[in-house]
Amino acid sequence: MPIEIPKDKWGGKIRTTVLGATAAEGGTRSHTVTIGGESSLPFMHFETPTPNTPCIAIEIKDRKPEDWSPILTDIWGEAMNSPVSWSKAAELAGADIILMWLTLEDTPQDAVNAAKSVLGATGLPLIVYGPGQVDKDNELLVAVSEATKGEKLVLGICEDKNYRTIVATAMANGHLVTARTPMDVNLSKQLNILISDMGMSNERVIMDPTTGALGYGIEYGYSVMERLRLAALQGDQMTQGAMIVTPGFEAWKTKEAKVGTGVPTAWGEWKERAINWETLTAVALIETGAAIVVLRHPESVKRVKTAIGELMTVS
C-alpha cells in the first residue's frame, strides 16, 4: 500500500531577487543571477519546485589582505595583487558572483576605480562592501554607487546603526543592498522594516542573518536561519528576503583554519581541515535556506558546488 507523504503547504514565499543588469537592462553584466522564489523548505522538491539554484560568491578585496591564512594567499598567489586579476581568477574558480571588500585606506576614487575595474574584468554580478566603519562605508559606497548607476550591484553592509545613506544611494542609482543583523529573528525583521520604510523595494534587500563558523556558534546562525525561513513561509513579509551568509569569512578566522602549527595533532592535516571547516559550514547553511554563500578557497567552492548540484537534483 503506497504511503501518503505529509506535505507542508505554506502561504508565504521567499522573494525573488535579481543581481546585476545586462546591457539591455541598463548595465554591463554578461548575465544576471536570480535568487530566492522558493515556497517550501530548502530542497523539498516533492512539495514545490525550487526555482533558483543557491549561488556561490567568492570574496576578494581591492587591496591584498595582510591577515589572510597562508593557505589562501598560496592558492590565489599573484592574483591577489589586483582586484582585476583576483576577480578573473575567482570567475575561473567557479564563482557565480564576485564580492569585493573595499579597504579603510581607499579614497572614494580608489573605490570607484576598483569597482569599475572588476566590472570590466568579469561579466559576473558584483557585491561591494565597505570596510565596516560607518563614515568610510558611506563615503566609499556613495561614490561607487553613483559611478556604477544601473549595474544592479549589491551594496553593503547595512546595519541598524548605519543603513540610511547606503539605502538612499542604492535607491537613487538602481542598486541592491545587504541588510545584516546579529543572529536574531526579530532584529532581522526590524531592520527590514526600517529599510522598507525608506521606500526601498523589498526585492532589492538581501538579508544577512549573520552566522558563526562550525565550532564557533554555527548552531545559533543555523537555527535563526531555519526560523526565518519558517516565518517567511508562514507569511511574515519582513522575513521573506533571500539570504546571504559568509561562511568563508567566519571559517577562515577560526584557529582551526587559520593556524597550522602548535595545534593538537588530533586536528589533523591543516589544509584539508581548513577546507572541511569552510565547506561544512557552508553546506549546513545552504540546507537551512541560504541563497548566496560567500566563500574564500577555490577547493571549497568546487566541493560546495558539487553539493548544490546534488541537492538540486529532482528524483
Binding site: 505529509p6 530542497f43 537555527s223
Partner: protein, 441 residues
C-alpha cells in the same frame, strides 16, 4: 500519539473498583495520561487494552541501542523536526568502517589508530563511537576477531549473506550489535539471525513504501529493534527521504517508519564529509564513515556537538576570575563573556602564548561577546560589576583591563563606571590575542 485521559478511560474496565488506589477509573485514566502512574496499577485491564495503551505510549521514533559491554550508542526517541523547537536528543553515533578484504593486520592497524584518537573541544573530549565491519570477501570471523581484540566499542556488521554474518555474530557473545544488509530478498533470514543474537537489524532501501512494508514483516518475526538504512544516489534525495521519514514518524505517528536512520558516508573529493554533515544535521541516528582521518572526524564531531546542543541551554562556564599561566599582580587583566566557546577560545590562546594573565569572565547569560552586547547582556554596567564583584583590584597592582575588540564602543562607558582603571581595547578575535599580549601590553 499520546492518548487523552478520556481515550484511556474508554480502554479501562470502568468498574471504579478503587484497587488502583484512585476513587474512579476516570481519575486513574487522568493520572495515566499525565504519566504519573503505571498501567500495571489496574489489575483488571484487558490484554487488548494493554496492547493499545502500550502502543500509544511508545515514542514515535523507536530508541535503538548498539551495545558492547558498558559502551552503548543510542539513537531515536527524537521529538522535533527543528532543533529550535526543543532540542535533538541522541547524538548521531559515528562509526568507522573496516572491510574483511583489508585483512586482519591492516584492520588491526586502523583500529589501533582510531582507538588512540581523542580530540578536545571547549573542555569536552570526543571520540568515535564504534566500528562497522563489512563482509566483502575474506574470512569474516577473523576480521571480527581482529576488531574485537583491539576495541571494546559497539559494532555494526555489514553484509548480504546471512551465513557469513552468522560466523561473525557468534564471536560477539552478550553484545547487542547491529546488522546491516537486509533487503526485500534477504529480510527473512536476516531477521532470524537478528532474533537469534538479539541484534538490531537495518533494512536497506530508498523507497519508503517498500521499507515500510519490510519493517512490518520483520516485526512479525519478533524483531523490534529496526533501523532504516537509507541508500540514496544523491544528497537531494537523501535529504527528502530523511525528512519524509522523520515527518511520517513525528507528524503522522506512522509506526512502520518510526525508526532511526543509518547513513553510510561515501565518495571522494570531500563528498563523504558533506554526506556526513548532512546526516548529522538532518536526522540520521547512525553514521558510518568509509575512512578515518583526523582532519575530517574533528569537524564532524564538532558539528554533531553544535547541532545537538540544547538551544535552551547554551554551554556556559562559571563567571569569575580565572588564572592563566600563574599570573602575578602586574599581569594583564582580560575581560570576556561566559559563553563556553568564547571562554575556551580566549583561554586557549592566552595559555598557548605562554604569558600570564587574569581572565575575568562576566556573566553574559552564556552568550558570545557580540551576541551578548547586541542583547544588552554585556555592557559597561555588567563589566564594572564583575570587576568589583570578583575583587579584581585586590589581586592586581596594575589597574588596567582589556576589553574584547568587538565591544570597543563600550570603553568610554566602562571608564566612567571604573574611574580608577585604565581601559584598553584588545583584538576582535581570540586568535590575535598572543600577538596583542606581546606587542601592545
Amino acid at each position: 500519539m499520546a492518548l487523552s485521559g478520556i481515550q484511556i478511560y474508554k480502554l479501562l474496565p470502568q468498574t471504579n473498583c478503587k484497587e488502583c488506589g484512585y476513587p474512579t477509573c476516570l481519575a486513574f485514566a487522568m493520572k495515566l495520561a499525565a504519566k504519573q502512574v503505571e498501567l500495571s496499577g489496574c489489575p483488571y485491564v484487558s490484554e487488548e487494552s494493554k496492547k493499545q495503551l502500550a502502543e500509544s505510549s511508545a515514542p514515535p521514533i523507536r530508541l535503538i541501542s548498539v551495545k558492547a559491554g558498558e559502551l552503548e550508542t543510542k539513537a531515536g526517541n527524537e521529538t522535533v523536526m527543528f532543533r529550535h523547537e526543543k532540542t535533538f536528543f541522541n547524538r548521531t553515533g559515528i562509526f568507522i568502517k573496516v572491510k574483511t578484504s583489508e585483512g586482519p593486520e591492516a584492520i588491526k592497524a586502523k583500529i589501533t589508530e582510531v582507538e588512540g584518537y581523542k580530540v578536545s573541544y571547549v573542555g569536552m573530549d570526543f571520540t568515535v563511537d564504534g566500528y562497522a565491519i563489512e563482509a566483502d570477501g575474506g574470512d569474516f570471523s577473523n576480521a571480527v576477531k581482529a576488531v574485537r581484540a583491539n576495541t571494546k566499542r559497539p559494532l555494526i556488521l555489514v553484509g548480504n549473506d546471512p551465513t557469513i554474518l552468522d560466523t561473525g555474530l557468534g564471536i560477539l557473545n552478550g553484545e547487542k550489535p547491529m546488522l546491516v544488509g537486509a533487503d526485500a530478498s534477504s529480510w527473512e533470514a536476516m531477521a532470524d539471525l537478528a532474533k537469534k543474537y538479539s541484534a538490531s537489524l537495518a533494512i536497506t532501501g530508498d523507497n519508503l513504501d517498500t521499507l515500510a512494508e519490510l519493517t512490518e514483516k520483520i516485526k512479525t518475526k519478533g524483531v523490534e529493534d529496526i533501523v532504516i538504512h537509507l541508500k540514496s544516489e544523491n544528497l537531494g534525495k537523501h535529504l527528502a527521504l530523511s525528512t519524509q521519514i522523520r515527518r511520517m514518524a513525528l507528524k503522522s505517528n506512522f509506526r512502520p517508519l518510526g525508526y532511526p536512520i543509518i547513513t553510510f558516508a561515501e565518495g571522494g573529493n570531500g563528498r563523504d564529509a558533506i554526506v556526513a554533515s548532512q546526516a548529522i544535521a538532518k536526522y540520521s541516528g547512525f553514521l558510518v564513515m568509509d575512512r578515518f582521518s583526523p582532519e575530517l572526524i574533528y569537524p564532524l564531531l564538532v558539528l554533531r556537538q553544535n547541532i545537538y546542543t540544547d538551544p535552551q541551554k547554551p554551554i556556559q562556564v562559571q563567571p569569575g576570575i580565572y588564572e592563566i599561566n600563574s599570573p602575578k599582580p602586574d599581569s594583564p587583566v582580560l575581560v570576556t563573556t561566559n559563553f563556553s566557546i568564547t571562554y575556551f577560545s580566549v583561554a586557549n590562546e592566552v595559555e598557548g602564548s605562554g604569558l600570564p594573565a587574569w581572565l575575568v569572565v562576566c556573566d553574559a547569560e552564556g552568550m558570545s561577546v557580540l551576541t551578548a552586547w547586541a542583547a544588552g547582556k554585556f555592557d559597561a554596567d555588567r563589566i564594572a560589576k564583575s570587576i568589583k564583584g570578583f575583587n579584581v583590584a585586590e589581586k592586581v597592582s596594575k589597574k588596567r583591563i582589556v576589553l574584547p575588540g568587538h565591544v570597543a564602543v563600550l570603553s568610554g562607558e566602562v571608564e566612567e563606571e571604573l574611574p580608577e582603571w585604565e581601559i584598553r581595547v584588545g583584538p576582535r578575535e581570540a586568535v590575535d590575542i598572543p600577538s596583542f599580549l606581546k606587542q601592545a601590553l
